[in-house]
Amino acid sequence: MNTTPTKPGTGHSPPQPPAAAPHPPPRRGRRSSSTVSPLLYLFPVPALVLYAIFFAVPTFQAFQYAMTNWDGFSAAYDNVGLRNFERIATSDDLFRNALTNNLKFVLVVVVFQTLFALILAILLTVNTRGSVMLRALFFFPTILSSVSVAFIWKFMYDPNFGLINSVLETVGLDGLTGAFLGNPNQAIYWVAVTQVWFHAGQMMVIFIAGLQQVPKEMYEAAEVDGASRWGRFRHVTWPMIAPATAIVMAYTTIQSFKAFDLILGLGGNPPKQSMDILSTRIYAGFTNSEFGYAAAESIYFMVVIALITWAQRRIVRLTQAGAQ
């Protein structure tokens, strides 16, 4: 597309500010912007090759393997069409159980992690020495390895030697002691508590970055208009940190689906059914020499994450549009 400069004061273009330099005349022989030197197309080739080798090919292969009964090591295998997908959807209680656990886990983690991260961020946005120190303190768990975190919390939850039951017993609340990870109805929620502790500080940092971008003038204007503290949060802060919230929620969701090492650390390999989530289920498939079936599970896994992330983004947009 060629651009022809319009004379000031003529045509439909708005008047140019006087200080603006005039557009340079088009160079002679300049190519159309849709046509570039062919050599330029060579620049992305290394990246594309890497992308193809490490992303595109394995993704396509996952689809292909998903339609086989390949065991992961034999040269022989059968094409089974969509049978793996059908079996997962209709007659695999273990997959359904892992999906249910995962959804419970994601829900609890996304809600509480986002909430705690936001509260901490609001409290620590100001750049005082104390805030900076507390930010570092809350961020600290993030730099630990998930195996260490699992090890620490495994002993926190231990019913006989664990810190939680010991404290409860010491203060006379014996009735509240429990088996924690050993209780099949509660285990996944206790894992969620660990996950929130592990990553809330990380999400807090994203929120702080978002909050520090909100212009102070907007709060002053809202205050002049008589907005209460809640009103300022609802009509100024919340809409302005929409991008940060979307990032936090999407990242937390994906992180929750992939809380693989934390689960294995807390629950062993393979974990009990009460702690099994999709990523550990898929891993169990590979361990059980069912590569084809595990590949089909991976594809379901991908679809579930995509759907939930999309739904979340819609919800965040809608709630924040409503708040404006």
Binding site: A56, D71, A75, S91, T177, G182, P270, Y283, N288
Partner: protein, 431 residues
């Protein structure tokens, strides 16, 4: 094409190129999976023993003993070195097959008995050791777990007793002098221990891998056959059969004798309770004795299995497992040295070093144990013990479902409901 390049390339051309590249990727990815064929390679009986090899295994706790053995092995040969490639047992269970197959590690390697050995044998990883003269060093009835299609592909090295360990002093303290003859006798024994102030049994119900060991003893007389779980896998038996429901009901009877909230206890705290003398029995296996000693326990230990039937129906007194299957990798380019290393480990005097250093019995014949713990347990080598039933499962999900049923019963679930839920998984896995 020359013309297009000389005149510049349009976006459409680029999209075409990307499309072609994408289709190319698709084509590449459509290449069939799997590249291994079964190998009938026999390990060399002779050859140049030199160079570097890798020994892949999962027992980090044995690395010092292996270092000592490797050092002695290297002293016998010029220019030989052996590197230990150790992965945690869970990772080894999951990834060893792929890593050993690539020959990146494991010129000599080990396998778990059961599903992993079967898969590795199917993948052709094991060189045939049937004709190796050192095969005669092993106790023949203990190395069947390393056979496939009539060939001796590997040698199970460790002899483990997967049955509860008890504190001999605590039993004496509770006035128990004889092992129980039947199920009532066993419950009475636990009752006496509780009355004497002990937690009768420490059981790591929070960790399926260790919690599952108890099922070996619980089913050994209820279903006194070495292939009951194989039969379950193949559809001959169900989890809702009387023998298994009875087993789960007996787990329910054991509830008051485990530590509080046993279904959430990890293995380390259970070991701690036992090592400190708080619990009288640790319901895991002899493989934990060395760890108990490391925790400072000085009391004498022995093994005891719950007898779940009447005195006249008892067929087995305990459980054993022959595992840590030593093999030579067919993909190795230094099979002669790897075979020589396996041969070295198979010598009685070397196996004795391993046994005493690790607190494990071995399947090699003629070994003289000097460790007091191994000497104390040596009488079990002559007792009627069953090959650990839980390792008969080749389907790990099915095994987990069965073991999880027992854990849930201890946690309070109705045994019949637990059996029915497990059966549902069993049926789905058979399909």
């Amino acid at each position: 094409m020359t013309k297009a390049f000389s005149q510049g390339m349009h976006r459409r051309d680029l999209l075409r190129l990307l499309g072609i590249a994408g289709l190319g990727s698709l084509g590449v990815s459509c290449a069939g999976p799997g590249s291994t064929t079964n190998s009938d390679d026999a390990a060399p009986e002779e050859g140049d023993v030199s160079g570097a090899i890798s020994f892949a295994h999962w027992r980090a706790e044995d690395s010092d003993v292996f270092d000592e053995i490797i050092s002695d092995f290297a002293a016998e040969h010029d220019d030989v070195s052996v590197r230990q490639d150790i992965s945690p047992s869970n990772d080894y269970q999951s990834t060893a097959l792929q890593r050993v197959r690539s020959a990146a590690i494991g010129d000599a390697f080990t396998a778990f008995r059961g599903a992993q050995f079967v898969d590795m044998a199917s993948a052709g990883l094991f060189a045939d050791l049937s004709e190796q003269p050192f095969a005669q060093n092993y106790q023949a009835d203990l190395i069947t777990a390393g056979q496939s299609d009539g060939r001796q592909l590997g040698f199970p090295y460790q002899l483990v007793f997967n049955m509860p360990v008890f504190n001999v002093d605590a039993f004496e303290d509770a006035g128990i002098s004889e092992p129980p003859a039947d199920w009532d006798g066993f419950l009475d024994l636990l009752d006496k221990l509780a009355s004497a102030g002990y937690t009768p049994m420490a059981w790591p119900g929070g960790e399926p891998g260790n919690a599952g060991q108890l099922i070996n003893s619980m089913v050994m007389n209820n279903a006194p056959s070495e292939d009951m779980f194989t039969g379950m896998e193949q559809g001959e038996f169900d989890a809702t059969d009387d023998w298994f429901v009875t087993t789960l009901k007996q787990y329910a009877e054991l509830r008051p004798f485990f530590q509080n909230n046993a279904s959430g206890t990890a293995v380390e705290p259970a070991q701690q309770m036992f090592a400190e003398g708080e619990a009288a029995i640790l319901a895991t296996g002899s493989y934990h004795i060395a760890a108990i000693r490391d925790l400072g326990a000085e009391f004498p230990m022995d093994l005891i299995s719950p007898i779940t039937v009447g005195a006249d129906e008892v067929q087995f007194r305990g459980v054993h497992n022959a595992t840590f299957i030593l093999g030579v990798n067919t993909a190795s380019d230094n099979q002669a040295t790897a075979t020589a290393f396996v041969e070295y480990l198979s010598r009685p005097e070397v196996a004795a070093v391993y046994a005493d250093g690790t607190g494990q019995h071995v399947t090699v014949e003629g070994v003289e144990y000097t460790s007091p713990d191994l000497q104390a347990l040596a009488h079990w080598l002559d007792q009627p013990t069953i090959l650990a039933p839980r390792f008969q499962f080749n389907d790990l999900d099915m095994r987990s479902a069965i073991e999880d049923a027992a854990i849930q019963v201890v946690g309070g679930k109705d045994p019949e409901q637990a059996a029915a839920d497990a059966q549902r998984i069993v049926e789905q896995r058979r399909a």
